[in-house]
Symmetry: C2
């Protein structure tokens, strides 16, 4: 294959796919152009005139209520699907968050669901009639999954990922697929087919990544519930940057089988699926519903472990209504968080103390070493990227900065790559295990300091050292990567937005690293207008139920604290 | 370091260690030499005169009864420990099964346990007073762990493996450590420090490996319960070859943290600990006791999953007393089992059918491919062996055949090694995952054929294609490795012994491979006198409780079938 044919190949593939995507948007759903100067576009769905009053009501409704109205046939699946589809298409036109668009197919599915309920009097399953958006790595039979690679245009799926089979069985309606960064290994969302996804609260900011399409879509309320994936923050970062709720479950809780991914075969740093949503309740509904289908009988990597209601009742954390002790990780010793993030941590501490809980400091341990280990593991994935892109000659993006040019075609081949020997990688993986062991011992050891008689119940930490930053500047994922490496289920929740009056930077002249200094210099409230700040709550491995219950509690404490 | 000093170094280290081991045996426990021509030495403990009647009674008692008598102070921990220690030392003198010998320390611990019970009226834990033998990779504070490497002589432990901490908390008494093959990657047991462990039923046969010291010790009833480890059969093979019960649990059920091992950092083919015992009940007691300590709070790789009594009651298998459907894997398509193994499978089938259960055939799927993948993963471990042996210049054994000479010093360095690139290994690991997915789908798919409305409840298969074979001829571990690769908990149980009258080989002129032919030619009843034949029962991942319950049931069916 010559480089000339490769070059024309990827451009043609990308152009073809983008053209087909645009053609899939019903003409009558086109809205008048919104000027680029309008940064906050969250009000566009309400103002553009495409959605009826009822459609706006439906799309502004939470999942709990939606499911109640769907199962009682108060709202039909067709009208709910249509409402969210229209709003998703509005979102697409202002923040570019979608990949696969298949209106007729989703409406046909909705009609089937309505018909089933009408004729049998029974719902198909726990998620009857609910539209669910899926990140563009989740395979749906008959659709393409490009996962941000022009090279994968035309890759039609002959079957569903297991999670899609389960969604169908539960009566859900997967209705759109959402944008991702090329290679998935970015905390922002841009690729050579679909382009960049923007943050609805301020389009000059990133929507985060790699589940950035989900984040932007949900922030526009173009979906009631989305499924993202997370290797090192890819659910939590877009959740935090878009003011949403999203959980990275432990390995082996939600089936991943049959999905496309990266780092395939790396048994030490796999991706996990998890929900992105508008509230904690939706996350709980999703987790309970998926676990009710016994996913370990569909995916051998899923842990045989049902939804544990006792764990959700916080039985191992002093029981419901008891006093908990949270540890706050103010700073991971690598990058100092910006003032708005610091303020979010302080608010959360004050809210928890006001609610009667204890809060102590978390002392980070070997975070920088763990981050280096992860980077060494991920570096092996570069081989895979070369293989994938070689079929079309597609260049591999080297930056998410809009001002940096796209590299020349297939530039990755210019770099001499030194393959990592497996034995060297095993040494890294061994060190990773050692850090996990030490971290567990340290967690257990906090029992002396909590005053509850138990070790710390959960750790609360930044999702990122900044609020949603300008495009191209999400350079550090160490805050989320650490909990992935430790396999701690981690739930991102929204806390506040940047407030120029409150979030004033104190000058520093000492920095932890060049990156720390660079990130310090990034902060300027005028660049972060309306930017969301999220935090994450992390629990013990396979303790999803308790993590959900504790996030509920933190969220409620924050709400009542803000209302004071 | 010159090769001369290396050479003298490993020999000196090995000789020193062996000398110290021999010195640790109390002089008065030396028994008269048993002639090499006596192959079956299982009666030596009863006949040698060292053990009193009561000591013989104690060492012939099952764990359930031992624990009852220990907790009621009917027997003291000191007398039980002493009895087993004496018998273990007898075993050592005829089958060479021990590594660490520490009589005074174990008796001191026993005295403490007795004192505790006397003064508090309460047992220390569920295993109060029980002597437990531990494979020589389990680290006990203050003792050496050489793990079969002369290079590791003098490697004293500054702390315990987590499993040892747990044994102490449960009131058990780790009292001896047992022999292993150098590198652990053999299904037989021989190394350059302690030499070869023999099979007590016929000393011309192997005791198996890598937990061969445990197997031989228990077959001599020199321990009531042992802990072995299993990467690809290392618990099940010595269990089968010594007429014992032993389970390979799923990954992450029993804590491995703090143990020495091989393939360190390979997150895809780790070792797991499991019990080797005289009956199914002992295995259940061990598993329940360890899980009662919440080992996931000590080892981050342990799955947070308590002992599940409902699973033990076979709730997902039609409930206790219901009719089950077992699938027999007669042959894995790689090596055809010898006649005694075939007969053991037939006996088991007939016993189960007689007991009212259904038995169907298991169709193996991609076993040879999986075995190749495993071998590719294990090959990476050769780097580690070079590093370990380089410190003393110790040669790496290339055969377990007693007639083959030990290689020259440090021969492994002569072979040019091509490091496996991590990306190539990931491709293998991806293929492994694909096979796991296909295997799960096939298992689910058996529901059509069982007649119970459920998929097959368990798979019964050979542990090896032969009964305990002559030293140097255990060349195939594919029957156990497959279930490890699939992470199926697998319980080895004894069925029969080789019977020259019944076990007649039918001539074959077609073979599946050169190894299949070689193994066919190995069979000759005169070489297998008194050799044990074991089978294994495999269940679904993390279904240890049901696997124990089903093995109980198969064992009872076999016993009543034999008594007919």
């Amino acid at each position: 294959m010559s480089s000339v044919s490769q070059s024309s190949n990827w451009r043609a593939l990308a152009a073809d796919k983008k053209h087909r995507q645009e053609a899939a948007i019903p003409k009558e759903w086109r809205i008048p152009p919104v000027p680029d100067t309008q940064l906050d576009v969250t009000s566009v769905p309400e103002k553009c005139g495409l959605l009826t009053e009822k459609e706006l009501e439906i799309t502004n409704t939470d999942v709990t209520t939606l499911l109640a109205r769907l199962s009682s046939a108060q709202w039909s699946s067709v009208e709910v699907t249509l409402a969210f589809y229209k709003r998703a298409i509005v979102a697409q036109q202002v923040v570019n968050c979608l990949t696969e668009i298949f209106v007729e197919r989703a409406l046909a599915r909705a009609r089937e669901l309505d018909e089933h309920l009408k004729t049998t009097g029974r719902v198909v399953g726990l998620l009857h009639g609910l539209p669910v958006s899926c990140k563009d790595m989740i395979r749906i039979k008959g659709l393409e999954t490009t996962m941000g690679y022009a090279s994968w245009v035309g890759k039609y799926n002959e079957d569903n990922s297991v999670i899609v089979d389960i969604l169908y069985e539960l009566g859900a309606n997967p209705f759109v697929q959402t944008n991702v960064p090329q290679t998935l290994m970015w905390g922002e969302t841009n690729n050579l087919i679909f382009g960049r996804t923007l943050n609805p609260h301020n389009r000059s900011l990133t929507s985060g990544g790699s589940s950035g399409g989900e984040g932007a879509l949900l922030a526009m309320r173009g979906s009631p519930l989305g499924i993202g994936s997370d290797i090192a923050g890819s659910i939590r970062i877009p959740s935090a940057f878009n003011g949403l709720y999203g959980v990275r479950p432990s390995y082996g809780r939600i089936p991943f089988s049959g999905a496309l991914s990266i780092l395939e075969g790396s048994d030490t740093s796999p991706a996990v699926f998890g929900p992105i949503a508008h509230d904690v309740a939706s996350v709980k509904i999703f987790m309970q519903a998926v676990l009710s289908t016994k996913p370990w009988l569909r995916d051998p990597l899923v842990v045989k472990k049902e939804w544990d209601e006792r764990a959700y009742k916080l039985e191992e954390h002093g029981g419901n209504g008891g006093k908990l002790c949270f540890a706050i990780c103010w700073d991971n010793g690598m990058v100092v968080p910006h003032p708005p993030v610091r303020r979010a941590l302080e608010m959360t501490r004050d809210a928890l103390v006001t609610a009667g809980h204890r809060v102590i400091d978390w002392v980070p341990h070997r975070h920088a070493e763990m981050y280096e280990i992860l980077n060494a593991i991920w570096a092996v994935g570069a081989e895979e990227q070369k293989i994938v892109t070689s079929t079309s000659g597609e260049p591999i993006l080297t930056s998410m900065d809009p001002n940096e040019p796209v590299p020349e075609d297939f530039n990755v081949h210019k770099a001499a790559t030194t393959p990592t020997p497996a034995s060297a990688l095993w040494q890294k993986q061994k060190a990773k295990r050692d850090i996990r062991e030490e971290y567990l011992a340290r967690w257990e050891n906090t029992a002396k300091a909590t005053g509850t008689g138990r070790p710390v119940d959960a750790i609360i930490s930044p999702v990122a050292p900044y609020a949603a930053p300008p495009h191209g500047s999400n350079r550090d994922i160490s805050y989320t990567a650490m909990w992935s490496a430790l396999d701690y289920p981690s739930f991102a929740f929204p806390v506040t937005r940047v407030d120029p009056a409150l979030d004033v930077q104190t000058p520093r002249d000492k920095f932890l690293s060049a990156l720390d200094e660079e990130i310090f210099n990034l902060y300027d409230p005028s660049k972060f207008v309306n930017a969301s700040v999220g935090l994450q709550l992390s629990g013990r491995t396979l303790e999803e139920e308790a993590v959900i219950a504790m996030t509920e509690l933190v969220d409620a404490a924050l709400k009542s604290f803000r209302d004071q």
